[in-house]
């Protein structure tokens, strides 16, 4: 039996047990109660975290589980009854601004975050507020693309959040009071935090934003108990030159001027200290090899390659390192010496995949801004295949020019930071995409010490149509199974469930459920503000909920709001 098949069997068993166990606590529904399936109230054990993929009560990871499949095993809400789904409660935060949080649910308590680093603990049954934490922001923050936050990590008796002023904060999960706080990096130099941390084996893992500011990217591991730094892996190697790759992952020539780059290397030296390579989405964790897998973003400056010669390792790459030491294990670079900001952002997913001979092997999936899903061998990060393009590609790879060169996709993708989701039973990975035509402009300038450093400009072409899509890809063949076009470019995230559904939201405020096999829209709800956050699900007192943030998005300027909306079936 394959790993995915075992997951199905185990998943169903745990869900059933979970629902029964949850039902026993109905009498105390309005109180903070202890003990559902796996542990005590407000305590998240490593065992719970490991079993999250089959836990139909909680939602313990930003992307559902350590494999980051965002596949939720409960099936109370399903293709047959989703048409009856309606809001169970709405919670309004204090902050009306871009909302990208994934709600984390632990034994009936939900933790959400907002822009500018507020954290709320809510009663997941009612939406009632339990506590609120407002981070005291330092006077210096440096970030592009919104004051976002994508949520907490819950672990032990704490919740953890990265902040815009580049701190990692540990809060008491019961009270919201600060337990410890660590400065991760210097915000004056362009570092900031928007990603949700990942908690595993006593460690809190977090990367950094800053690819538009000449930072040196990293992933760091901190001790969950006291915040002590355990290791740092820099995403820009001290020898970042690489192999002078002329083709991208799909075999297309990137038109690099290798001779000019080699001359620049002699003159300027290795650019690794300001080379970017931000990591701002969660790593996946593979317990069998004790390795984590994450993606590193664009090189700095984004559009000007003339002052950063070489492949710019390990920017635009899938990277794997050892969890205990942070030691490099393997990498695969999608676009060497990128000058389009078509980088690697969407979090990797671990699933078994068919290799080139049809044999099932441990794999890794990543959705690229290029519009391809890349399918890798987990052992050595090598590429097995890439999917059909999910969005139009034109003139790849025309080089940026002073007056602007048009190329598709635009710099936001394809797949932006939005996490994908997988239904292993169907062998499908689901992605949301943007089609946003842009021109790419290059203009060289020296490192401006913490200021925006794009090396040019990206411009949306206002006369061209923009749209998005939801796409299901067979990751064992790379073929698109189904695709649904949306009115606006898509950003936020997506979640599949055992009920045969896929949930995702749009900038227009529409939140929709699709049939995961066919792409048919089975249900929709107008949330009143952009639904640009990844959905989550949980079960309390025997009732399954779907929950999502509706607060719009800075990057695409979708209508702002401040709502967390939980949906359930009528009693």
């Amino acid at each position: 039996m394959s790993k995915s098949a075992w997951k199905k069997v185990l998943g169903g068993a745990f869900v059933t047990a979970g629902l029964v166990a949850a039902g026993a606590f109905t009498a105390g529904a309005q109180e903070v109660q202890g003990g559902t399936l796996y542990g005590n109230m407000n305590t998240v054990s490593q065992d719970m975290m490991n079993r999250a993929e089959s836990d139909g009560n909680n939602f313990l990871h930003t992307n559902g589980n350590y494999d980051q499949t965002r596949y939720y095993p409960a099936r109370q809400i399903n293709v047959n009854n989703v048409k009856n789904l309606r809001p169970a409660w709405i919670f309004q935060t204090e902050i009306v601004e871009s909302l990208e949080t994934t709600p984390i649910v632990v034994n009936g308590i939900m933790y959400i975050t907002t822009s500018f680093n507020h954290v709320y603990a809510l009663n997941a049954r009612t939406g009632a507020q339990i506590w609120q934490y407002k981070h005291k922001m330092g006077p210096i923050t440096t970030y592009c693309c919104g004051p976002n936050n994508r949520g907490v990590a819950a672990y032990g008796d704490k919740v953890f959040m990265g902040t815009l002023d580049a701190k990692l904060v540990a809060l008491d999960a019961k009270t919201g009071k600060v337990v410890w706080e660590q400065q991760i990096a210097d915000p004056e130099l362009g570092y900031s935090e928007t990603m949700a941390p990942t908690a595993v084996n006593g460690k809190i893992l977090i990367g950094t934003n800053g690819g538009e500011y000449g930072i040196r990217g990293f992933v760091k591991a901190y001790n969950a108990e006291d915040g002590k730094l355990l290791w740092t892996f820099h995403t820009t190697a001290e020898n970042s030159v690489g192999v002078w790759a002329e083709k991208d992952a799909t075999g297309r020539n990137m038109l690099r001027d290798i001779a000019a780059e080699k001359a620049a290397l002699k003159k300027l030296g290795d650019p690794y200290k300001t080379l970017g390579g931000g990591v701002w989405q969660n790593p996946a964790y593979d317990a069998e090899t004790n390795r984590i897998f994450f993606v590193a973003g664009n090189p700095s400056p984004d559009l000007d390659g003339s002052i950063r010669p070489g492949d710019n390792l390990y920017t635009n790459s899938l990277i794997s390192v050892d969890l205990d030491t942070g030691k490099y294990a393997c990498h695969f670079q999608y676009i060497a010496h990128d000058v389009w900001d078509l980088d690697a952002v969407s979090p990797p997913i671990l699933v078994d995949v068919a290799d080139k001979n049809g044999k099932m092997v441990p794999g890794v999936l990543h959705g690229g801004k290029t519009g391809h899903v890349y399918i890798h061998n987990r052992d050595d990060c090598s590429l097995i295949r890439f999917s059909e393009a999910m969005v139009p590609q034109e003139d790849m790879w025309v080089l940026p020019t002073k007056d602007g060169a048009r190329m598709l996709p635009g710099a936001n993708g394809g797949v932006e930071w939005s996490p994908m989701t997988v239904d292993e039973g169907l062998g499908l990975v689901y992605a949301i995409n943007l089609h946003q035509p842009m021109t790419y402009h290059v203009e060289s300038s020296p490192y401006p010490e913490g200021k925006l450093w794009l090396g040019g400009a990206f411009k949306v072409i206002p006369t061209e149509e923009q749209w998005g899509n939801v796409t299901a890809v067979d990751y064992n063949t790379g073929k698109i199974r189904w695709q649904v076009k949306t009115q606006q470019p898509m950003i936020g995230g997506i979640m599949a469930t055992a009920g045969g559904l896929v949930f995702t939201g749009e900038g227009s405020g529409m939140f929709k459920a699709y049939d995961s096999e066919t792409g048919s829209v089975l249900w929709s709800f107008q949330a009143g503000a952009g639904v640009n956050a990844p959905p989550a699900s949980y079960t309390v007192d025997g009732k399954q909920y779907i929950v999502v943030g509706a607060g719009g998005n800075v990057q695409l300027n979708y209508k702002r709001g401040n709502n967390i909306i939980a949906f359930a079936l009528p009693d």
Binding site: P139, C145, S445, P448, L452, A457, K459, I461, P462, Q555
Partner: protein, 210 residues
């Protein structure tokens, strides 16, 4: 020391009188706030001379009523601090501002920036021409300006508030980016360089009216 600053204030007044003006404004710039000087809180006593010097051009408490001088009241602390540092270092060239800041310490610059950041943003009452603001909205959309300046164009930390800023100042500083007169934000220069002057004019109209 005080004499030095009084001389400097005089220099500013002279410099302001000679400030290059566009065809839209042929009258000498109004110096807002004369005779209405506020009482500064004690914590700003060490920079009171400098602040009153600022008020001469930027209005009482930084609430500039002159279209060519930027509003400072309610602007973000870190943006103001960086600009003062950039004037001093010559990264942002200005015959007026460089002499103003050349002897300021970092602590003094921080205090001045703090003062202005704690004031209220004024309402200029500017009303744009709908046809021009529509053009400006399209241009700012193409430039993805909201990605840094946020949807309300109210900025944060090192990114300045643009909404409701003085229209002539916006136009001038955006053109200065385009023409490489203002050199302390290279990415802004690249972006403005990709726009025609008419688009930049429309952006200024749109943002001043936002």
């Amino acid at each position: 020391m005080k004499t030095v600053y009084l001389l400097r204030v005089l220099l500013i007044a002279i410099a302001c009188a000679g400030w290059p003006v566009s065809a839209r404004s042929e009258e000498p710039p109004r110096i807002p706030g004369a005779g209405e000087q506020p009482i500064l809180p004690d914590e700003y006593a060490s920079v009171s001379t400098e602040l009153f010097g600022c008020f001469d051009c930027h209005g009482v408490s930084g609430e500039s009523a002159d279209p060519e001088f930027p509003i400072l009241s309610g602007q973000h602390f870190y943006y103001l601090y960086v600009q003062l540092k950039d004037f001093k270092a010559g990264r942002r060239a200005s015959e007026i501002m460089q002499p103003m800041v050349e002897e300021l310490s970092k602590d003094q610059m921080k205090l001045i920036a703090t003062y202005f950041s704690e004031q209220e943003w004024p309402n200029t009452g500017f009303k744009g021409d709908p046809a021009i603001t529509a053009k400006g909205e399209t241009a700012t959309g193409a430039g993805q300006c909201v990605q840094c300046h946020r949807g309300g164009y109210d900025g944060d930390s090192r990114v300045p508030r643009l909404a409701g800023q003085q229209r002539e100042y916006l136009f001038k500083t955006l053109m200065d980016f385009k023409n490489k007169v203002r050199m302390n934000s290279p990415s802004k220069s690249s972006l403005m360089n990709s726009f025609e002057e008419a688009d930049i004019d429309a952006m200024a109209e749109y943002l001043a009216d936002f």
